[in-house]
Subunit: 485 residues, 2 copies
């Protein structure tokens, strides 16, 4: 053991190299890894698996190129779940070379532990500190506690490049197993109910590998004029809603989806007049957009499972981590994304999609209905369980050549039963209480004007065929067929 | 007040006629009514609304012909939510004459109370007993507590034809409002945590009307050979799953969907070898199929929000209600269908659908993608949150002329992210951990043999076009277009 590293390691640990740790893993095994929002994933043991074959790799959220590029190029992975976000693996999945299983974030831990179709042989987890029967997770917690419970054996990567002070923002509460699972004893979105440490069976610990490699996190684009227009429409709608709904009289809990649009929308919150309401963030990722709001005191706190910050955002956060630690809490993803907590706190959830149809169904995963982008991630947890569920998206893609408002989405991730409001740069469609026919009129009105005539023509053709949700199945995918050529 | 009725009425109540009670309601008002599983709905005030115009009628579940036939034929209703199940209203909805909004059962109460697009003017609730600031609900509880909270004014129908002993099975627990909503303090599926009474603001009580009209409940068909084959396949699968999954080592919580197939599947549970496990039912409706299991002691208890029994089943239950009261509990629907309770108890949910696609998406509401049957009801609550989520359906409809396994469902109520297993009379497709391409092979193998060649041809055509979820959008709805002609 290296003495200089003593502040991070405690007790007698099986410290070894990445290659030796990787030798614990046999071809064909199922390996579950930490990582969420492209941070907090293991960085040196996975690349050492190059040369292995037929591995199943499971992660609750997105991870770095060390896994989803290196191990794709080496043809090491043949099955992957439940989320990914890199072009290399995306291409292999869409070519049918890697079998991909795509499931809600909230369910990942239970899927691994209770008959979800996977038996986890080995866990590889990034930590900032470890002892003989515990570790402290890194820039994301994700489903690390459940992964450790599900796996037969454990490999820890203790990363010296991640601030050890991360432990001050971790709140790990572990739930009992069904059917004797207790209520989650939490009163408010940013309450702390657990400890920093995640415990494990010391007999399972096979290897501890020390690293000092930084995360390979997201880069967020500078908000575009369209992002800003969407944010302005969302802001006006939220202000009015917050005034009129008694549920928001003293406090508002907000969630925004992962990505550049979500980040831009978070940033635009500073424009909203919340009055003297307590505003908190209860989501899965903490992104750059929230930093200004926290700094100004407009945001009272934030709960997430991942510090999905850009490199600039990480520096800003890490440099003042002691201050942020009073208001920011990272939780396991079965708490951050828990359906009932989203419901109990009356969360306003703002998520994006590839496209929406005239009736409020949303496709968040498959371009053209066939080609996977990232996976559903936590979007379904929040869209389905938020008290006010908003889909925000630009009205077009491909420089205006493709409408994101379509007659029918060829893949549905969020159903009409779950989506209450749709926002584009052209306005807000409030679908609450409306029949599908009424929704169609509202949603078409916020499509790009250059597509509205065609959408109206479709709507008229469909209504002639009658039904609660009118469609003309002979022409419903004409646009998608055309765009796919 | 009629003295002979004193055992049901307490205090000074505004007892009146149905017509006088109906005069409280003005044209254009929004009226929320009790009723779930076609039982426990108000029976005399709604028909007295004939002559009114432009009413919005809200119910959490299905109600009787007194509402969804009489008030449809009289053109009294112009908007309806969240569920219905009678041909008269179905036809009016599909013709676009009544605007219908279709939402998950679990969310109905909050939708009414916290900005779901409706402002409830008057509630009409069936009760078995009432006082000046309380009542006891009838054969269903549904969202009666939330309806009363949401409504400005209240009309009670006290029904002398319903046994007053129903109070012994009611357990009404009311939750606080978000964002300060507490955890639900329940430890097991059949625990009691509340009282029989539902309280209300006495100033809101406009009228109490006495009735003695029986429910107009479901009729269940005798199980067909196909129902029995589905039940046999489901039974074998469940037995094996229960043996192998540690979560089921001491207890199993089951839920079955509403309707004849669900009822037949419940009845077939007696064939399953559960060993010494405690078996309980945690669902939304208690149907005839559970009576034999309770009588034999195989089922330790049942939790639901509605006694959706046939007339024969009602008689059998009511005649021995004191015995059944020890093991059967009726709850408000935000408890019976609560996402987190379904998850905490590790429920095995078995629900049906109109059709499934090759990839595991299910359409439970729209024939041909356009024509509404009943609404999503509680199906989405259980499919989405069960630890093991099973869709059980016959492989064909229309006497074998239509395949219920299709290339793509033209409406999606349960997404591929929520469905773990599909069962037909031809077998079981276990989709857990599988990519969409793998799922397609499994699901096609349990389609009706007469459609398997065409499905396989579609699958090959689609795979040539590549993608995570291969499709050929030019031919994907050929069957539906043909069936619709």
């Amino acid at each position: 053991m290296n003495d200089s590293l003593n502040d991070r390691l405690e007790g007698t640990l099986p410290i070894t190299t990445a290659d030796e740790a990787a030798s614990v893993i046999d071809d064909g095994m199922t390996v579950a890894i930490s990582g969420f929002g492209s941070v907090g994933y293991p960085k040196v043991v996975p690349p050492a698996l190059d040369g292995h074959e037929s591995l199943t790799i499971l992660s609750a959220g997105s991870v770095g190129g060390e896994i989803d590029e290196t191990l794709v190029n080496s043809e090491t992975i043949n099955r992957r779940a439940h989320f990914q976000s890199r072009p290399a693996i995306r291409d292999a999945i869409n070519a049918g070379e890697i079998a991909f299983f795509d499931r809600h974030v909230s369910q990942f831990g239970d899927e691994l532990r209770f008959g979800g179709g996977f038996n986890v042989d080995v866990a590889i987890i990034e930590a900032v500190s470890a002892g003989e029967n515990w570790f402290i997770a890194s820039t994301s917690i994700g489903h690390a506690p459940s992964i450790v419970q599900a796996a037969d054996r454990l490999i820890l990567e203790v990363n010296h490049a991640q601030p050890i002070a991360l432990k001050t923002i971790h709140d790990v509460y572990e739930r009992a197993s069904p059917p004797h699972r207790e209520p989650i004893p939490i009163d408010g979105p940013t309450d702390r109910i657990g400890d920093a440490r995640i415990e494990f069976d010391p007999d399972a610990l096979e290897a501890v590998v020390e690293t000092d490699t930084a995360d390979d996190p997201y880069t967020f684009r500078t908000p575009t004029p369209i992002d800003q227009a969407i944010a302005a429409n969302l802001g006006s709608f939220l202000e009015s809603e917050i005034q009129s709904n008694s549920m928001f009289s003293s406090a508002v809990s907000l969630q925004f989806g992962v990505g550049s649009l979500g980040n831009a929308l978070m940033g635009a919150l500073t424009e909203i007049e919340f009055g003297d309401r307590t505003v908190v963030y209860f989501g899965e990722v903490f992104q750059d957009g929230l930093l200004d709001m926290l700094d100004s005191g407009q945001l009272a706190g934030a709960s997430a499972t991942s510090l999905a910050l850009s490199q600039t955002g990480q520096k800003r956060f890490f440099d003042a981590i002691d201050q942020y630690a009073t208001d920011v809490v990272l939780r396991p993803a079965d708490i951050s994304n828990n359906p009932i907590l989203i419901e109990r706190f009356g969360v306003v959830g703002v998520n994006s999609a590839i496209e929406v149809d005239c009736y409020g169904n949303a496709n968040a995963t498959h371009i053209g209905g066939t080609h996977m982008i990232n996976g559903i991630g936590g979007g379904g947890d929040f869209v389905r369980n938020s008290r006010l569920s908003i889909i925000a998206l630009p009205s077009t893609a491909a420089d205006g050549a493709v409408s994101r408002v379509v007659p029918m989405t060829p893949h549905v991730d969020h159903t009409e039963h779950d989506v209450s409001v749709v926002v584009t740069e052209h306005g807000v469609a409030d679908l609450r209480g409306c029949s599908p026919r009424e929704r169609a009129t509202k949603i078409i009105s916020i499509a790009d004007p250059s597509f509205q005539n065609d959408l109206e023509a479709y709507r008229h053709r469909a209504v002639n065929a009658n039904g609660q949700t009118p469609h003309d199945l002979e022409t419903v995918f004409d646009w998608h067929i055309d765009w796919g050529k």
